[in-house]
């Protein structure tokens, strides 16, 4: 019996050693760590689609292991360290809450390249990347103002961080460019990913009389509630048309694939540099899902706005813009600085909510 166990253990060790050795020689490992499930229909799924595109494009030279459902906190630090130690040449950490864990592990492994999504802390081997989601939200706001009969939309928000506040403001700005009296109600779900809470938030907003719903959370639950109640909604992160074929107007689709391919290629070529990248519609890091369930004139307006943003003719945060209390923020024609947007912690005029402080 004892001999058998030794033999088994030895053969297992051989097997394990052999496979990992063979992989290291041929391909570079580009690793991904996800906060949710890669089939969440939203944020994480969008990243995973990007990973699959990378796999398809550079599959001969890279492989793309991943860890999903990693909680933000001590487990994240261990998971990222495990990736670093398991031979990953590059690690994409795809949630804001992984920031401190990524910074700590990056400091320990200077030869490995790290890329953190939506964060603001960088290092020589730690780049950050983000997407100008607000461009898409401005378009959504315009559509909402055209489509809403009551001039009132509901916004399911996650955490009151600058990224989310910026999105709420961009939506309201877009809406006001069509209907100056447009109002926006906000519910804080205090989660990125919780179908139950998101659905509750959606119901609460609909009960308050909104007839358009948009969300900055990750699951399709709000879209499903909107479909059941017969109102219109916008998808988030992934095209959610399957959850609401008669409901979705459009969705901001995160198309990370091109970015992942670009950065992995830079790694292979040895030209990778730590950068802080903030790409937008024109770079293809986000795209608008097909404009559906709306009349042709609304669709034409949305397409025109999209084209103007891409060409740089239109910047959603262009003055005159007042803050929520009526005080002036941007003068006529003045454009918001990126730094101000990234630290945004105030509402603009027309948002019917008190920002949790």
């Amino acid at each position: 019996m004892k001999k058998l166990i030794i033999a088994l253990a030895a053969s297992a060790a051989l097997l394990g050693g052999f496979t990992s050795g063979a992989q290291a020689q041929e391909k570079k490992k580009v690793c991904f760590i996800y906060v949710g499930s890669r089939t969440d229909g939203g944020w994480t799924q969008a990243h995973d689609l990007g990973r699959q595109q990378l796999d398809k494009a550079l599959g001969a030279k890279v492989e793309t292991p991943f860890l999903e459902n990693v909680p933000e906190g001590p487990d994240a630090e261990r998971a990222i360290e495990r990736m670093a130690r398991s031979g990953c040449a590059m690690v994409f950490t795809t949630s804001f809450g992984f920031m401190d864990a990524t910074v700590k592990v990056a400091a320990k492994f200077p030869d490995i390249k790290f890329e953190h999504a939506t964060g603001f802390k960088a290092a020589p081997n730690l780049a950050t990347y983000n997407s100008r989601f607000y461009e898409g939200r401005y378009i959504q706001g315009q559509i909402a103002a055209k489509m809403s009969k009551k001039g009132l939309a509901g916004y399911i928000a996650s955490f009151p961080i600058p990224e989310v506040v910026m999105g709420i403001n961009a939506f309201e700005l877009g809406a006001k460019s069509v209907n100056p009296n447009f109002k926006l109600k906000v519910v804080w779900a205090n989660t990125w990913f919780d179908p139950g809470k998101e659905a509750d938030a959606a119901k609460a907003l609909i009960d308050q009389g909104v007839d358009i719903l948009t969300q900055h959370t990750d699951t399709t639950a709000p879209m499903q509630v909107a479909a059941e109640r017969g109102i219109l909604a916008f998808g988030q992160a992934s095209d959610m048309i399957a959850a609401g074929p008669k409901t979705q107007l459009t969705a901001i689709v995160d198309t990370w694939g091109a970015y992942y391919i670009k950065r992995a290629q830079a790694l292979l070529d040895g030209t990778w540099k730590s950068e802080q990248i903030w790409d937008g519609l024109k770079d293809g890091i986000l795209t608008m899902a097909p404009y559906t369930n709306m009349p042709d004139d609304v669709k034409a307006m949305a397409e025109e706005t999209e084209a103007k943003i891409k060409s740089g003719e239109l910047h959603p945060f262009t003055g005159p813009i007042n803050k929520q209390d009526g005080s002036a923020w941007l003068k006529a024609g003045e454009k918001a600085q990126d730094g101000v947007l990234l630290g945004m912690n105030f509402y603009i005029e027309g948002v019917d909510d008190k920002l949790p402080q």
Binding site: L8, A9, F66, G73, R78, Q357
Partner: protein
């Protein structure tokens, strides 16, 4: 035909010792079958899952981090269960312990003194003990079922934590994320060795396990626990009070769960956030039974359960198996432990119902 469990006249001593090992082997066998059905090489998968995390120093540190709360809570629960008190709410006592222990660093972030850490640990234990005192009070006063009350208090504790970190305790400079300020250096449980992240919680766990083992084995209190646990009436004849035992068992297990909570927050996380435990308080119940309610056995079973967490990650990364597999392993393990234990005390008997009706007629 139906199946009945019939009590065995004699319980095999050999098999009651072997039972957890047998359960472990059965879990591995079924795990191998599961990997094979998933189209992975079973040997390689089991190697990645159960051996690889043990081969590197950093990973052993991570194992100690993960095992410490499981062992700390598990040994307390073992004493509690031995005395026939069923504290299911260790998760809640863990949470309240973490909150009570964090009061000082959250409210006095400018206080730099070595005394803060010992105070935090004591307050964490007191918080956990007090919280476990609620079901103890309800049981001794109103004869309520402590299984229900302690379990329900878990949800209250978690919602209270949630409210705290989203409201009064939220870090004003934290970009509005629901978490407190990071603790000052003096309030962080230090690491044991330079070679990895493992902190002193693991030492606490080992000390607690040895102390409770000594108590159960050599001290009158341990004898009192076993006697009252087996027969309250016999205990009364010996002059032991079952009511006082409820208090002792609940407060002890609560204090240890509270210590685990503040150690986790101070040593591993470094601030308070809405979710501080992946269910340690519940997993520790499995740990306690897998360790046969013996404090030293629980050290071993705590390490095994911790390994299933780490192995789950390793397997996901290198062979692409879903992270749900670690849950499957934990479930299999508990199932086999319980069924092995049952089969040591009982044997399965097939009863043919028609035989019995014939007998009844005759």
């Amino acid at each position: 035909m139906r199946i009945e469990l019939e009590k065995r006249p004699r319980v095999s001593l050999l098999f009651s010792v072997l039972s957890p090992l047998l359960a472990l082997v059965l879990t591995l066998v079924f795990g191998a079958i599961m990997f094979w059905l998933l189209g992975k090489s079973p040997l390689n998968a089991l190697y990645v899952y159960f051996v690889e995390p043990l081969l590197e120093v950093w990973s052993l540190h991570e194992l100690a981090i993960k095992a410490a709360p499981l062992i700390l809570i598990g040994v307390g629960l073992a004493v509690c269960y031995r005395s026939n008190n069923w504290n299911i709410g260790a998760e809640g006592q863990f949470t309240i312990g973490a909150i009570a222990g964090s009061i000082l660093p959250v409210l006095y972030p400018q206080w730099h003194s070595w005394i803060i850490l010992p105070l935090m640990l004591v307050m964490g234990m007191a918080g956990g003990a007090l919280y476990a005192g609620i079901p103890a009070l309800l049981k001794t006063r109103f004869n309520t079922n402590e299984i229900l009350t302690s379990l329900m208090l878990v949800y209250i504790a978690q919602l209270f934590l949630d409210w705290l970190v989203r409201g009064p305790w939220r870090d004003p400079q934290g970009y509005n994320f629901p978490q407190t300020k990071s603790f000052q250096v003096e309030a962080v449980l230090p690491e044991m060795l330079a070679s990895g992240r493992a902190h002193w919680a693991f030492v606490f766990a080992i000390v607690a396990a040895v102390a409770l083992w000594f108590m159960m084995r050599f001290m009158l209190k341990g004898f009192e626990v076993s006697v009252l646990g087996q027969s309250e009436r016999a205990g009364r004849f010996a002059g032991f009070s079952a009511r006082r035992m409820v208090w002792f068992a609940m407060l002890l297990s609560g204090a240890l769960a509270g210590l685990a909570g503040i150690s986790e927050v101070s040593g591993s996380i470094g601030h308070v956030q809405p979710s501080i435990s992946p269910g340690y308080g519940f997993t520790a119940i499995i740990v306690a039974f897998l360790g046969r309610l013996n404090p030293l056995g629980i050290v071993a079973s705590g390490l095994v359960l911790a390994l299933t967490y780490l192995g789950g990650e390793a397997a996901q990364l290198s062979i692409g198996i879903s992270d749900k597999v670690s849950r499957v392993f934990q479930g299999l393990l508990l199932f086999f432990v319980l069924s092995c234990d049952t089969l040591i005390h009982y044997r399965i008997k097939l009863v043919f119902s028609d035989v019995r009706t014939v007998e009844a007629k005759g």
